[in-house]
């Protein structure tokens, strides 16, 4: 398998429509750490886990509507109650049939301590899960949470058989048994993961492919090379600088789409010079975010005016803002800094912490340069992922945190819930996600309303108001929304295109793909 081309037509197709059969080798940019659903929280692992695990709901492509999956319908009966009607006759990989018990046990597994699920918070507002009958599950909330409706479409609530959960517990991470279109065949850690067709998949026709191999190819150049040479049927995570190369290869189709991710610079709003709002504004003027966007992501991303990309509720444009989104103006920056009393040379010195990937590191270096031009000396400190994680979540004393940090934040839902609530709420200081140290009572208040209101129009209003205040107070510099990308060999068809991606959700893209004649 693998062989010369990313796929082969092995011909033992199912229903003779010509779409069935064959295999694909997908080049994965990194090693999945495990194959559990409850820990699937990164762009590498989710590609794989979503093939194995199915959740209650999924999104329609490309319009991002929730649609039935393992649940055939759902309903919010009131502010704090959700009811899910399960599909009957769903078979797990182990041959057992799905019932309400399985669904509840699966959610509870995510909530177990030893699961160490980074997604557990999604159930934060849940009071309990209730089995109404064999095929009905009710969720009772402790308080209203408008974003909860998305949770059943995430990997936080994929479904595994209760018998397996009881027997293996978190060891399911190594030997996953789900209801997804493919089941695990072989896992050579660090090398490849092979999955094969789940013949009893609930959607009769699907999947088309007999088998897929996720080959772990960390080196982007090798992935592109393999795509060019037809070794791989598909890949993702292409290094931004080389996307154009992939784009130009004839037998490869590149799919890019704006993501709900934002590359941004975080100011330390509690300690040091950046606790002064004017200094933050000055620094924002000093940085040419458009140029950085252009040179970093080019056409594979879009310039950011705030944390919320276009198409998401609460999105703002320069004209909505008091400071017009801080257009590049170093002179203005200098005079503002003078006014703020920073006149020396350098005016002051600070540290910018960044992890190593291009998407964060390259802007960091550009920012260092821009700030030095207005007299701020920046020491770029490149750290390993673990140190980075340690600092941004672990360091609660803001006087010990760096003045600046480069961050890439991704939303878990197609709504601002997973952006403005965790990032700007003054309740959410580290070890939670408000690493800006940003505090604004008005914002806190608006966020509370945003959370508890279910009406979409209203929520959009609150979100926009929060966003305007935040952007004008500049707790950070918003730089760009990088596209997410996937590429496939042209002989594979059926990829529905991608909806703007967020981490916890990647469609089980393989399910619908087949080899063209």
């Amino acid at each position: 398998t693998g062989g010369d081309s990313g796929g082969s037509e092995s011909g033992n197709g199912g229903s003779g429509d010509g779409k069935h059969g064959g295999s694909m080798t997908f080049a994965l940019g990194g090693s999945p750490t495990n194959l559990s659903y409850w820990q699937s929280y990164d762009t590498v692992t989710n590609n794989l886990t979503t093939q194995i695990w199915d959740s209650l709901l999924e999104y329609s492509e490309p319009d991002m509507e929730l649609q039935p999956a393992l649940a055939k319908s759902w309903e919010a009966t009131d502010d704090t109650t959700y009811v899910y009607e399960l599909r009957e006759g769903v078979t797990f990989h182990d041959g057992s049939e799905m019932t309400a018990d399985d669904v509840i046990a699966s959610a509870k597994l995510t909530l177990r301590d030893e699961a160490k699920s980074p997604l557990a918070w999604m159930f934060g507002a849940v009071d309990n899960f209730e089995k109404v009958d064999e095929y009905t599950v009710r969720v009772n909330m402790a308080e209203p949470d408008a974003s909860f409706k998305y949770v059943p479409a995430t990997t936080a609530w994929s479904v595994a058989p209760k018998s397996q959960i009881d027997e293996k517990g978190t060891d399911l991470a190594q030997e996953p048994v789900g209801a997804g279109p493919f089941k695990l065949d072989q896992w050579k850690s660090g090398n490849y993961v092979r999955i094969t067709r789940h013949d009893d998949y609930w959607d009769g026709e699907l999947p088309y492919l007999d088998e897929a191999t996720f080959q772990i190819v960390p080196n982007g150049t090798s992935r592109i090379t393999g795509m060019k040479n037809g070794n791989y049927g598909g890949t993702n995570d292409i290094p931004i600088d080389q996307l154009s190369v992939l784009d130009q290869i004839d037998n490869v189709e590149l799919h890019t789409v704006t993501s709900f991710q934002t590359s941004h610079l975080v100011f330390n709003c509690m300690e040091g010079p950046f606790s002064n709002t004017d200094v933050r504004r000055a620094a924002s003027y000093a940085i040419d975010t458009k140029a950085i966007t252009e040179s970093t992501v080019g056409k594979y991303g879009s310039h950011a005016y705030s944390m919320l990309p276009e198409g998401m509720m609460g999105h703002v444009k320069p004209e909505d803002l008091e400071y017009n989104g801080f257009p590049y103006d170093p002179e203005k920056a200098k005079s503002m800094l003078d006014d703020a009393g920073f006149t020396g040379s350098p005016r002051f010195e600070t540290t910018l912490m960044t992890p190593k990937d291009t998407v964060r590191q390259k802007p960091a270096i550009a920012i260092q340069q821009y700030l030095s031009e207005v007299g701020i000396k920046v020491n770029v400190k490149k750290v390993s992922q673990s140190t980075y994680v340690d600092t941004i979540w672990g360091e609660e004393d803001f006087s010990k945190r760096p003045g600046l940090q480069m961050t890439l934040w991704a939303s878990d839902f197609p709504s601002p819930d997973a952006i403005i609530r965790p990032l700007f709420d003054s309740e959410q200081l580290p070890p939670s996600n408000n690493w800006f140290g940003y505090q604004n009572e008005k914002v806190d208040q608006l966020l509370q309303q945003f959370k508890t209101t279910l009406d979409t129009e209203q929520r959009a209003q609150y979100a926009k108001q929060v966003n305007q205040i935040v952007v004008d107070e500049a707790p950070g510099v918003w730089i760009f929304h990088p596209d997410t990308t996937k590429a496939f060999n042209t002989k594979f068809e059926g990829y529905a295109g991608q909806i703007p991606a967020f981490v916890t959700y990647f469609s089980t893209f393989l399910r619908d793909m087949y080899i063209a004649d």
Partner: protein, 320 residues
């Protein structure tokens, strides 16, 4: 020759080898303890962490014990054959290693073979004809060979041979004998060339030394054929110093195979260790160092035993 003395010597060497391996683990363990960031946080990285979760993890991994207790517990596990559990990968270390050692072993083995094939005959030739044009060409070639870091030659090989010419697989380790060979041949060749350049230099130096030896004169004076003089009498003796350090090279090869694996995207031990080091995934790093140390110690013992075959003056366990 396999006397009580030999057995005794081997026991002594093994005993010392065990000490070395122990000391290595101790050193690495201590270093990792010094590293910033608590293992618990590394374990829990990537999400919102409740205090309770933290506590669970800390207890699960004995992280609240003083480090020497942790070390003791870890050592106990190792002695019972349990290599521990990877923090970052959430899998038993033994599984991780079982999945990956073969690739590394194959790369190391193949590059050693290629290095030997490349270096020994050329080294003999260059040493025998030292000062000649051929010697100069080979010597300069060898210096250039060691001067180009393997990551560079690897990346360039991918660029040229895979991307532009499409004659090489671009990544992965391949399956099946042919598939595996086609994937690891070029990486092993690059690695082998690097080691081979070093071996060549030693072989050449060894030849030169041996050719100065008095017994070479005896060979000439007794009218032995040239081929016999060079191969039987000179090369064997010149091989001895090469052999003594070849144990060192095994370790060298293991780490450099990491680089090769990294560049060519093969999931061997090397990449496992690199990622573990980056993630401060102590159990994996420790297991990795243990493996290299064990391989190192064992290969050095083997080398010593082989050495006595080449140089009978060195009697195992004797006073020389």
């Amino acid at each position: 020759m396999v006397s009580g003395q030999t057995v005794g010597y081997l026991l002594k060497r093994l005993g010392f080898g065990v000490f070395i391996v122990w000391a290595v683990t101790f050193l690495v363990f201590a270093l990792l303890q010094l590293a910033p960031g608590s293992p618990a946080d590394i374990l829990l990285s990537g999400g919102v962490v409740t205090e309770e979760m933290r506590r669970t993890v800390i207890e699960q991994y004995n992280l609240n014990e003083p480090w020497y207790v942790q070390y003791g517990l870890w050592l106990k596990d190792i002695l019972t054959g349990d290599l521990g559990y990877s923090f970052a990968q959430q899998r038993p270390v033994a599984t991780l290693i079982a999945d990956r050692w073969a690739i590394t072993a194959q790369i190391v083995g193949l590059s050693m073979v290629l290095a030997t094939i490349l270096s020994i005959p050329t080294g003999i030739l260059a040493g025998y004809k030292h000062g000649s044009k051929l010697d100069l060409v080979l010597t300069v070639g060898a210096i250039v060979g060691v001067s180009v870091p393997v990551f560079v030659s690897g990346v360039l090989a991918i660029l040229v041979f895979s991307f532009h010419l499409n004659v090489l697989p671009s990544g992965g380790a391949g399956t099946g004998v042919v598939g595996r060979l086609s994937h690891i041949f070029v990486p092993s060749l690059l690695l082998g060339a690097m080691i081979g350049a070093l071996m060549f230099r030693m072989m050449r130096a060894g030849m030169r030394d041996v050719l100065e030896k008095d017994y070479m004169e005896t060979c000439t004076a007794m009218g032995l054929p040239k081929r016999k003089i060079v191969i039987k009498h000179a090369a064997i003796n010149a091989l001895a110093p090469v052999l003594t350090v070849s144990g060192l090279w095994i370790g060298f090869l293991i780490v450099y195979s990491m680089v090769v694996e990294y560049v060519f995207g093969m999931g061997g031990l090397g990449r496992l260790i690199i990622h573990a080091v980056e993630a401060q995934d102590a159990p994996v790093v420790l297991a990795g160092t243990i493996i290299t140390a064990v391989v190192f110690v064992v290969s050095n013992i083997v080398v010593d035993v082989l050495y006595t075959k080449i140089d009978p003056r060195v009697v195992i366990g004797g006073q020389n």
